[in-house]
């Protein structure tokens, strides 16, 4: 299974006094109005004896209500095998929706349910887009450590977001190859210098350094059936996000956990716009139910 950019839009958000940025490699629990363009990733996969897989994707999320959004994503894929001809093409259209059903401000905690679908046949088969659809229900969570006691105050800027879901293909086999259901899970551990400066200790950071959020993301895929069990792939992605008023930029190294995932360190980078801040009275507010 190849590394791919996020299938649906990542979200930034608040839980109590905690600001969470949109993470790059693992989706987070927040429902928001936002737009990523572009997300650029590159990794060398083992396919065909080594294939440089470069992907440029865009995602948009718009709130229907303050707690419910709909998300669309598209990816342009460039595959450059070490032997053979390079192929380019669009991946399948991804559509998703997320509902934030739990929020605890005091404990900076959020939990959401989501459903994503990779719409089969809408992308280029030559570029690896599946001819079948894949449905992925998932549970998303976020937790800040701002409720730690004062003696642990320097750990309070830490937060974790993550997800667990199962990608269920609509077809068991394609051209003789099995399409297993895949457990997809991952999490991001982030240390917010924004939180440190605002709520713990003014250590003298000034712009642009007071808006940085170093993080490490962990992203894994575990096939569950059809003879593919145990063939885990995944990456560990250390990086940094800078969050401004209207947008954030982030970049991470992409380190494969095994040779099934990739043969070299890749990267992912993203420019991500906060539509709720850019257009608070139009595109950046829910269709129904107020502003929040």
């Amino acid at each position: 299974m190849m590394l791919s950019a996020p299938k649906t839009a990542s979200a930034h958000g608040f839980a109590g006094s905690r600001f969470f940025p949109a993470t790059l490699s693992t989706d987070d629990p927040f429902v928001a109005d936002e737009f990523s363009l572009p997300t650029v990733s590159r990794i060398v996969t083992p396919d065909g004896g080594g294939t440089r897989d470069t992907e440029v994707s865009s995602d948009i999320a718009l709130r229907i209500t303050p707690k419910w959004d709909i998300e669309f994503g598209e990816t342009f894929i460039m595959l450059n095998p070490s032997q053979g001809k390079a192929v380019n093409g669009f991946g399948n259209l991804s559509i998703g929706s997320k509902y934030e059903f739990f929020e605890n401000d005091e404990h900076e905690a959020v939990v959401s349910l989501g459903l994503g679908v990779d719409v089969g046949g809408t992308g280029s088969k030559e570029a690896g887009a599946d001819t079948f659809s894949t449905w992925t229900p998932g549970l998303f969570f976020g937790k800040g450590l701002g409720d730690l006691p004062q003696k642990w105050s320097l750990l309070r800027p830490l937060a974790v977001t993550g997800l667990i879901g199962v990608a269920i293909p609509s077809s068991a086999r394609t051209d003789g190859s099995p399409n297993p259901a895949v457990l997809q899970w991952g999490f991001a551990v982030e240390y917010s210098l924004i939180y440190l400066q605002e709520q713990v200790r003014d250590v003298g950071l000034r712009a642009p350094f007071d808006r940085l959020i170093p993080l490490v993301e962990f992203s894994f895929s575990d096939p569950l059936n059809r003879g593919q069990s145990g063939l885990t792939t995944g990456t560990i992605n250390p990086g940094i996000i800078w969050s401004g008023k209207y947008f954030q930029v982030g970049a991470e190294a992409v380190i494969p956990i095994n040779s099934r995932t990739g043969n070299d360190v890749g990267f992912i980078a993203q420019l991500h716009f906060y539509l709720d801040d850019l257009f608070p009275h139009s595109l950046g507010r829910p269709l129904f139910g107020g502003t929040r």
């Binding site: 006094s17 600001f19 572009p38 400066q197 709520q199 003014d202 008023k245 420019l271 801040d277 608070p280």
Partner: protein
């Protein structure tokens, strides 16, 4: 110009000029400083935010370690700087830790909140 740079340029060209100049208000700095120590009790707490503040829905509260509210409940926006919020304090009981709790609404109605402590030391 590479395709990626062209995309970035187009994004900025299209989105930024039509954006309205407002966003979530984050704490920029405060006096006393976040997590700071002061030798004399301050007469007020001042917080500078990254955005202009809507005074009617914004507040700063100051509590002692027992949870008793100490401020004079007179939070107000600075007359010359709409991103600066003040609250007055009576003479504080003495050395100790004090908790500042703030909640602000920026002029585009986004709500943000937070808290921090400062210490008065001998």
């Amino acid at each position: 110009m590479s395709p990626v740079r062209r995309i970035l340029f187009i994004c900025l060209l299209v989105l930024i000029p039509v954006a309205q100049a407002c966003a979530h208000a984050f704490l920029e700095r405060s006096d006393p400083a976040v997590g700071g120590k002061v030798h004399s009790a301050p007469a007020e707490v001042r917080i500078w935010f990254t955005e202009a503040i809507e005074p009617a829905f914004s507040s700063i509260q100051v509590f002692d370690t027992a949870g008793k509210q100490l401020d004079k409940k007179d939070t107000h926006v600075d007359s010359t700087n709409r991103s600066l919020l003040h609250v007055s304090l009576p003479p504080l009981p003495g050395p100790g830790s004090y908790k500042v709790v703030w909640r602000v609404v920026s002029v585009d109605t986004h709500v943000t909140k937070g808290n921090f402590t400062f210490q008065v030391v001998p």
